[in-house]
């Protein structure tokens, strides 16, 4: 029994890891292709049909490029930086509930690596660890511009984490749990007669908006990509990194995008809940099939948010640094606090809290 659980979890971890790596890999292609579409171009479409071999070509290129270790860099930290970025990006997916339980015979397989009851806190812990990857990378390069890029990145991450946390508190008040599975289960209620549509985004639109903005900032995506904008502000914290070490940083960004898309879908868009699920269950469809449809629905939501990342990137110009800080501290933080207050008042008036 013990062994089978270990094997089961090991398989699940492998699958989740492989999926997130593949998604990250192909996001580079999707990003480039869609960027082209937004600009009336076609994008890379030469390597294989529709260019699907392009990520492999990019990978080979990054692996075979010359490794440059700056003479005055701290050798150990210089390598630890990208590894840490990659590591923190991948471990975030451990607490995401990918679907309901699969029932095979008398075995119940949970589609979640670890259902810890502080899942949300874990996510926040991992997200704030991500700062170390950038900070160490910038520091170890022993280059003033990298260091400045790293400081930019760190201060941005920290600023937006606060607003993000405050936005989440309103969600916690509504759902009353820190477990991600609990939060997703809480959204399986019905809205206007449609089951599985009781998504938090309908109850907490402001929190969602704040969270979304902070999510973009945490992932260092446009319009918050000052930490690593390639051309205008001296690449950022990874100025000195070359070949696959740079590749790791870029890759970590895409994994981060995938994981945070999953988190935001779970927190606000009902995770694996989909409209009409109760009617489907009542009509006698096997529970496993509903689980699989739910899984598909979840990935559809993730895909939407991944697309949103790309869409926004090719629409909005970058913020100036003071605008960025003003938005974070002067607008989002007060707004989130007000949201908490209003949520509390409304919950009191509707009798949710005595």
């Amino acid at each position: 029994m013990e062994l089978s659980i270990i094997i089961e979890k090991f398989l699940l971890i492998t699958v989740v890891l492989v999926v997130s790596l593949v998604v990250a890999m192909y996001m580079t292609l999707v990003e480039r292709r869609f960027a082209a579409f937004f600009q009336d171009r076609l994008g890379p479409n030469r390597a294989g049909p529709w260019g699907i071999l392009q990520p492999l070509a990019d990978g080979v290129k990054l692996f075979t490029k010359e490794e440059i270790l700056p003479a005055n860099a701290n050798k150990l930290l210089f390598i630890v930086g990208p590894s840490l970025a990659m590591f923190t990006a991948t471990i975030g997916s451990a607490v995401i509930p990918w679907g309901r339980d699969l029932v095979l015979g008398d075995r119940v397989i949970s589609l979640q690596v670890a259902d810890i009851n502080i899942g949300l806190l874990y996510i926040f812990g991992v997200v704030s660890l991500g700062v170390y990857g950038m900070m160490i990378g910038g520091w170890a390069s022993n280059n003033k511009y990298s260091l400045m890029g790293a400081i930019r990145a760190a201060s941005q991450s920290i600023s937006y984490e606060i607003a993000m946390g405050l936005a989440i508190i309103a969600i916690l008040m509504v759902t009353g749990t820190l477990s991600l599975r609990g939060i997703v289960e809480g959204q399986s209620s019905s809205l206007m007669g449609i089951s599985g549509l009781g998504w938090n985004v309908f109850y907490q639109p402001v929190a969602f908006l704040i969270y979304l903005i902070c999510m973009f900032a945490e992932c260092n995506r446009t319009p918050f990509d000052l930490p690593e904008c390639e051309s205008e502000l001296v690449a950022g914290y990874h100025t000195e990194h070359s070949s696959m070490k740079l590749g790791f940083y870029l890759f970590a960004e895409y994994i981060n995008m995938f994981v945070s898309s999953a988190v935001v879908s779970a927190l606000f868009f009902g995770g694996y809940n989909f409209p009409g699920q109760d009617a489907l269950a009542a009509s006698g469809v096997h529970a496993n099939i509903i689980t699989i449809i739910g899984l598909a629905a979840f990935f559809l939501k993730i895909a939407f948010f991944l697309f949103l990342f790309v869409w926004v990137r090719w629409t909005i110009p970058r913020f100036r640094y003071d605008q960025l800080m003003r938005l974070g501290w002067n607008m989002l933080v007060p707004l989130a606090i007000a949201n908490i207050g209003i949520t509390g008042v409304v919950m009191y008036l509707t009798g949710h809290i005595k």
Partner: protein, 165 residues
Amino acid sequence: MESLTNRKKVVEQKPMTFLERIYLPAIFQGLGITMKHFFRKKATIQYPDVKREFSTNFRGIHSLKRDEEGRERCTACGLCALSCPAEAITMIAAERKPGEEALYREEKYAATYEINMLRCIFCGFCEEACPKEAIYLDGDIPPANFDRDNFIYGKDKLVEPIHKK
């Protein structure tokens, strides 16, 4: 100060309204605009496979024409060289010998005729100046090369091949 033209505009710097300050309406508008482009027809041409057609007034490599009987039309009058603002054309004239009537249309012809493609600005003045309709810029884009010498196009490259009858 009195303005010199009537095109002067006073720049207004109104303070932004609340809706403008929270950026969101503008952002959604922008998202709409980029979304429209997502589905537009793409302007890309798959270059090595598909070549774009040149416009009808495209000016490419010069060619020295022959007449219906395959004789070179150019009479080495030098008008093209004279009209060339880039001074790209040089030629040496020679007199037609008896027996060469099938080669050259006039008594005088260009023994050498060179255009320096690095100087040429493809203005087309040579084409316009020629009284004999001997030179046209109806070729391709001059291909790239590693040597400057190869950009001086002589008669071997300029004169049209003889039509097979």
